[in-house]
Symmetry: C2
C-alpha cells in the first residue's frame, strides 16, 4: 500500500509528534528547553563542560550562560577541574538532583503510558531496539571487558539462549568447552563488548591457548543490531588485538544451524580446516593466518 519510503516517513511523523510532546512536557517546569537539556545532561553523569557542549552541540557562549542560569537557580555547582584549572566540572546540588528526577519522572511516565497500554510491550520494545540500534550505528563503542562482568554476562546469556533455540537438541554451556575468563583476558586474549547507547549489542572473545593458535569464541550480535556490519567490526577489533598480543594463527568453530555465521567466515577470508577439538557442538572449523 505505502512504499518503503512512505512507511519510513509515516514513522518519522508519528515519532516527531511524540518527541515534540516530550519536549514541550519539559517546558512545564518554567525553564527553557536549553537549560533543561543541560540539566539532564549533567544528571546523566556528564560532568565535563566540554563533553556536555559536544553532546548537545552548543556554542561555548551559550553554554556558559545556560550553566550560569542553572547555577543561579542553585541546581548545579561548578568547580574547577583539579587536574586542569581551565576546565570546569558541573555537578548537581541536592536541589538539582530533585529537579532532575522530576524530568526523569516525566520521561518515564511517557514510556510507561505507551508501553502499558500495548498488549505486546515486548514486541514494541524489540522494534524500538531495532530502530535505535540502526540509528545509533555510528556511535558504537567497543569496550574491552572482563568476560565475567555484567555486560559480558548479559551478552553471553543472550548468545547461549539463541544457540539453545537454534541447535537441534538445544545447547548447554556445561557440555561445551567453556573457556575460563583468564584465557579471554590480557595477556592471553581479550573480550570485547559493543555498546550502543547503553545497550550491549554484540560481543566476541579471543581465547589464547598454548597450542600455537588462538580461538575466536562467543561471537554474538544482538538481533536488534544485525545487518549493520557489526560482526565484521568486532572481528577486525579482535584481529587487531591478536596482532598486539603477538598471535599469528586464529581458529574458530561453528555449527550448521548457524548458516549465516558459516557464510560470514567464508566471505571474510577464513579457510575451512579439519576438526581440531572434541567439542560436541561444532560442525565447521576455520582458520585464518594473520
Amino acid at each position: 500500500m505505502l512504499n518503503d519510503i512512505s512507511r519510513f516517513r509515516r514513522f518519522s511523523r508519528a515519532v516527531t509528534s511524540e518527541v515534540g510532546a516530550l519536549d514541550t512536557s519539559f517546558l512545564g517546569r518554567g525553564r527553557p528547553l536549553g537549560a533543561a537539556r543541560v540539566l539532564n545532561a549533567i544528571g546523566q553523569g556528564r560532568t565535563d563542560v566540554a563533553a556536555i557542549r559536544a553532546y548537545l552541540a552548543l556554542d561555548s557562549g551559550l553554554m556558559s550562560r545556560l550553566l550560569r542560569s542553572l547555577e543561579e537557580e542553585k541546581l548545579i555547582e561548578l568547580t574547577a577541574d583539579p587536574e586542569d584549572a581551565r576546565k570546569r566540572r558541573a555537578v548537581l546540588t541536592p536541589a538539582g538532583e530533585a529537579e532532575f528526577s522530576v524530568y526523569e519522572q516525566l520521561s518515564n511516565e511517557r514510556a510507561e503510558k505507551l508501553l502499558g497500554t500495548h498488549a505486546h510491550p515486548q514486541a514494541l520494545l524489540e522494534a524500538m531496539d531495532l530502530i535505535a540500534s540502526a540509528l545509533d550505528r555510528n556511535r558504537w563503542s567497543f569496550e574491552e571487558v572482563d568476560p565475567r562482568s555484567q555486560t559480558a554476562r548479559y551478552c553471553l546469556e543472550e548468545y547461549y539462549a539463541e544457540l539453545d533455540r537454534r541447535f537441534e537438541g538445544g545447547f548447554q554451556v556445561s557440555l561445551s568447552a567453556d573457556p575460563d575468563a583468564e584465557s579471554m583476558m590480557r595477556p592471553k586474549g581479550v573480550f570485547f563488548v559493543t555498546m550502543s547507547d547503553g545497550l550491549p549489542v554484540g560481543c566476541v572473545g579471543l581465547k589464547g591457548t598454548d597450542k600455537g593458535y588462538a580461538e575466536i569464541k562467543r561471537l554474538w550480535v544482538s538481533p536488534a543490531a544485525r545487518g549493520l556490519g557489526l560482526a565484521r567490526k568486532l572481528m577486525a577489533k579482535t584481529e587487531e588485538a591478536a596482532r598486539e598480543i603477538g598471535i599469528k594463527v586464529l581458529r574458530l568453530d561453528t555449527n550448521k544451524a548457524l548458516p549465516e555465521a558459516v557464510n560470514f567466515y567464508r566471505k571474510e577470508g577464513w579457510t575451512e580446516i579439519d576438526r581440531f577439538n572434541d567439542d560436541p557442538y561444532p560442525d565447521f572449523f576455520f582458520e585464518k593466518i594473520l
Copy 2:
C-alpha cells in the same frame, strides 16, 4: 540489561537526534523552520489555514506572518474560501510545488540512506510500522469503502496471505465462500477500513444475506496494529452500521488456527452455535443478537 523504560528512552534519544537532523536539513534552503513547516503542510494538501494552524499548533498571529512570508516568496497563493469569505485557503504556486518537492527529496534521501544501508530493511520497516501504529492509535480513521477499492484489496490480500500462512494446508479464496462486493455495501452491508496516517491497518466486512442474519467477514488487523484494541473498535463500528441497516442477528465463522480470534469472540459476548454453512475452512461458528 536495560529495563523496559530505559529501552524506550534509548529509542527516544536515537530518534530525537534523527528527527533533529532532519529538521536542520530543512534549514539548508534559507528559510526558517517555521516557514518550511507551513510550506510542507500546504504541500501535503492541507489548504485550510485553520487546519494548518491546528496541525502545527501555531498562534494565529505567527501563522499569518509565516503565510505572508511564503506569499512574498511567491511560493503560495492565498484566496478567500468561496463558501465563507472569512476563511482563507492556501495553495502552492508552481514555484511552491518545486520548492516543496525539494523538501520531499531531502526527506526521501534520509529514508533511503537509512533503509539502504541496512541488510534487512523489511524488518526495519515492520518495526517502524509497529511503533508508528502504536503512537498513532488515537488518530485512527474508520472509512466505509467499496470492498473492491485499492485500500480494501490491500487489506484483503494481507488477510488471505496470513490465513494461508496459518491454516494447515493453506488458504485459497476461491475455495472459500467469497462474498460479492455488493453484499458488503449499503444497503445490504458495509465494509470498513481503518487508516492510520495513510496506512490501512485493519478492515471488516458486514455481509447482508436474505436468510434473516448478516455475517461478519474478513475481520483483519495488521500485525503492526495488534494489541491496541482495534478489532473491538472495528466490531463496534460494524454493529452500529448493522443496527442502522436494520439487522437483528449477526453470525460469523472462524478457524481453529486463529485461537486469538476465537478467544476474542467469546470475550466480546458472542455465542457459539452449530455450523450454519458448508465453507470448508471454518471450525467455529458464532452468533450475536443485537
